[in-house]
Amino acid sequence: MSAIIQTSDLRFSYPAAEGVTPVVLDGVSLSIEEGSFVAVLGHNGCGKSTLAKHMNAILLPSGGTVYVDGIDTADDSRLLDIRRAVGMVFQNPDNQIVANVVEEDVAFAPENLGVPPAEIRQRVDDALKAVNMYDHREHAPHLLSGGQKQRVAIAGVIAMRPRCIVLDEPTAMLDPIGRKDVLRTIKELNRTRGVTVVLITHHMDEAAQADRLIVMAKGRVVADGAPKAVFSRVEELRKVGLTVPQTTQLLWELRQAGYDVPLDALSDEECAQALYSLLMKNPPVTA
């Protein structure tokens, strides 16, 4: 597998205000494999959104380099190629929908790329079907629910046929149903279309569904690995102010109390299984 996004020693700080230069990214070296589903987890202000904005040249590094599909993001002449390769979805669906008809909005990116009209039609239909919004193609976006709007925004990016989609807290403003729909859509895109997904989030349960989990704190990567492995490092995560999923939390506390349970049982079923075997080993004392 080849890397679609590669950062090396990426540093970023916003222009100094009154002598202080707030460092947002402090030496981030990452390589995102093509076709993978990566979650970036971290507290507010840890630099995860700033990192995301480096992935399609909205922000340019103050130090270090970012390569997208082999192109240096600092290369101004290849800007459109970079943006076409890596699509971006933001938190507020209202502020990324451009047109007042769903299909017109989805057509926006291919229109900008100068795709012939017949192919735009095909891409729009295809993208809307991929996010399950085809039946709403002639609706006005402001009449849709938050989750539906966010799916339209995702379709708008897919219509560009990017190889990677970066989603910056796409579910932060959604209700539980909308969150579930959006997350399912993202996972499906990754599985069935092989689109690389980078999901920026602060929801543990969302991060747990990725193939790889990167934890950030104070502009640095503090943990990187499979979600099961990362979450089992409970103490480290707590140190950077993150909680772990309830399943891990429960197992960890049992372990602290001296019971022999695995820490990497992340899903509800796995956790239940672990508890079951624990109970079988130590039958409760009946009065």
């Binding site: 399609n56 909205i58 459109l80 943006r83 076409r84 699509g87 971006m88 933001f90 507020n92 209202d94 502020n95 990324q96 929908i97 451009v98 047109a99 007042n100 008809v101 299909e103 017109e104 057509a107 926006f108 990116a109 291919p110 229109e111 900008n112 790329l113 100068g114 795709v115 012939p116 009209p117 735009i120 039609r121 729009v124 006005a140 976006p141 402001h142 925004a153 708008g156 990016v157 560009m160």
Partner: protein, 269 residues
């Protein structure tokens, strides 16, 4: 104040022959119609124009009531123009005279035709917005004004601004409603007091609204850049505008009517 009642360029969805016309055809026809209205001089020509308007309304299947409802807000201007024309048109046949006012026969006719002209002008343009969706209207304008790009008029940018404005009207109205409720919950009073007090009460509404609108604009710009927006250059469109046979017939008809009315009007008919 019910914010939801605000209508700007209200559109009646439909599939009438008028709806199906190319937006550019309708725009050109409205311009021709307005020119013809100003060339019309007397009963014959006005009757022709009235027939054109009535025919268009009939074909558009837009309820006649709604067409006339659009006249309400301009009633004051209509009356004002009528009164001015009535009193200040010099003429030979004096009908009545009191203090500094003189009403002449010419004045009466002029006022009458002016009222008819303004009313027909407004109903005609309203028919355009009633039968053409805002997006098509913007597309049509962009296409028609296209040649102006040669003299560096930013036609694409203007059309894009217009369509984004249309897109955000409902969003901002919703937001205004929300802010108003929030301010009311904290004791703000938007509905009583005199004009100045009310204007002052709007300040705590406008400040957050503007701040949020700027934030939205910033985010939207980033999102547009992420989707490879780089101006109108090399841009294609999903929806292609195409003139059909009906468009050519309509354009020819309106052109003929305008010329005809111009000639008849010239002879004072």
């Amino acid at each position: 104040m019910a914010l939801k009642d605000i209508t700007l360029g209200q559109y009646f969805p439909g599939n009438s022959p008028v709806h199906r016309l190319d937006p550019r055809t309708k725009l050109i026809c409205v311009v021709l119609y307005i020119v013809a209205l100003f060339l019309a001089a007397w009963f014959v020509t006005y009757a022709v124009m009235l027939a054109v308007l009535a025919g268009s309304i009939y074909l558009s299947k837009v309820p006649v009531k709604s067409v006339f409802r659009g006249l309400k807000p301009v009633l004051f201007i209509v009356v004002f123009t009528a009164v001015l024309n009535l009193f200040y048109t010099p003429g030979d046949t004096v009908l009545a005279q009191f203090w500094v006012f003189t009403i002449t026969l010419e004045g009466v006719w002029r006022a009458f035709f002016m009222v008819v002209r303004i009313m027909m002008l407004i109903s005609g343009t309203f028919l355009l917005t009633y039968t053409t969706s805002p997006i098509l209207l913007t597309d049509g304008l962009e296409s028609l004004l296209g040649p102006l790009k040669m003299v560096r008029v930013p036609v694409h940018e203007l059309a894009m601004m217009m369509s984004i404005a249309l897109r955000f009207i409902p969003t901002l109205i919703e937001e205004t409603d929300k802010i108003m409720s929030a301010q009311r919950a904290r004791g703000a009073d938007f509905e009583s007091g005199n004009l100045i007090q009310r204007a002052k009460a709007l300040l705590p509404l406008l400040v957050p609204l503007f701040i949020s609108a700027f934030r939205r604009a910033d985010e939207l710009a980033t999102a547009m850049e992420c989707r490879c927006y780089h101006g109108g250059e090399g841009r294609t469109r999903l929806r292609q505008l195409k003139y059909k046979a009906a468009d050519y017939v309509t354009l020819f008809l309106f052109l003929a009517i305008t010329v005809g009315v111009g000639v008849l009007g010239h002879f004072g008919l």
